[in-house]
Symmetry: C2
Subunit: 204 residues, 2 copies
Amino acid sequence: MIKNNKNENTESLILEAAKSIFQTKGMDGARMQEIADQAGINKAMLHYYYRSKQLLFEAVFKNAFSLLAPQLNTVLNDDSSIEEKVRNFSSNYISFIAEHPYLPNFIIQELNRNPDFILKMKESNGFPNLEKFKKQVDVEVANGIIKKIKAEQLFINILALNVFPFIAKPLIQNLIDADESDFQHIIEERKTEVADFIINSIKK
Amino acid sequence: MIKNNKNENTESLILEAAKSIFQTKGMDGARMQEIADQAGINKAMLHYYYRSKQLLFEAVFKNAFSLLAPQLNTVLNDDSSIEEKVRNFSSNYISFIAEHPYLPNFIIQELNRNPDFILKMKESNGFPNLEKFKKQVDVEVANGIIKKIKAEQLFINILALNVFPFIAKPLIQNLIDADESDFQHIIEERKTEVADFIINSIKK
DNA sequence: GTCTATAGCCAGATAGAC
DNA sequence: GTCTATCTGGCTATAGAC
């Protein structure tokens, strides 16, 4: 039973419990009974508030996506240079994910299972848009500030270097033979390491 | 019903079908009936040959892992320079995964669900070992061939840049607004793009 | 709104004929 | 070895008392 404070109503209690179960076990692996136990309420209440497992899942997914999207928009749409963007994003994003370690994997996993899901996200406001970033990369390339690279490739690289370690954590830990504390240390290093790696590669 | 050739026995027919279902739907999402249909045989045969869903799944997992491990070992244990390794790996690995697109996600996903699973893999031969790669990076750093970087961080970066696009395909496609053919083109470019990106970053 | 009890279904596993 | 038929348990969802 988990209770954050007395003010929490049942609906948000359920949502919090559902987050934690869905994000670790996925849609197929999650059990409504387990979510109810986690929330400290009865299974019937899940259906009273959210009608079905599918709808509860969608509420959790939208909620998770709405946490992640602003993180991306920050890189894409502020007015700093590419270099500053890379540095800010790598540091901020890794800090953010370290506090929500299951989030990226959850999003990516469930999008693989059900690619149409993202269409619903695109309809809502705040879906990340790459246009400004593309123009900016092209301008900095033209002005000789950074080496020739396509904005899309650079964007994929930034995302990959920042997100992958969290998604592949168990695999990486075993490949490089790191225990939990070693791994945390490596992640901490990456807050600057990743940005340096990218900047070194693209800076003229 | 899928039949590769007359020589295929039932056991390998089942394994092939199980691969295709487990790798797309995961352990929890897969149905024994669906695997049987795919193999063109009866559901009871699955239990006759593999006893349980869990054991069939483990057979598929081990098989998948044994395909992936040699790809990693190639980078780690041949005698070429770091630069050559990065170039070979990026090209070979992306080609390999393009033919088995569900493989890395399957491995990573199921390791997240059940991290102890990898312990069984470590016992078997051919589990990737980083020792040689570490020494080589340290030597090339000491000799001034590449910039100062920890072998572990470089290894994570190489893996991230090569693997992530396949794992996050649906997300990336929507973020950069690419249809299937655009995406294939970007992947094709990455066979050299990724290596250049890494070499630019570490080469002195 | 919240609970208990249960309906109804579906999936993994097995029995047993051939 | 391969099949059909069936058992058994577990899961989502709902009915209905309070």
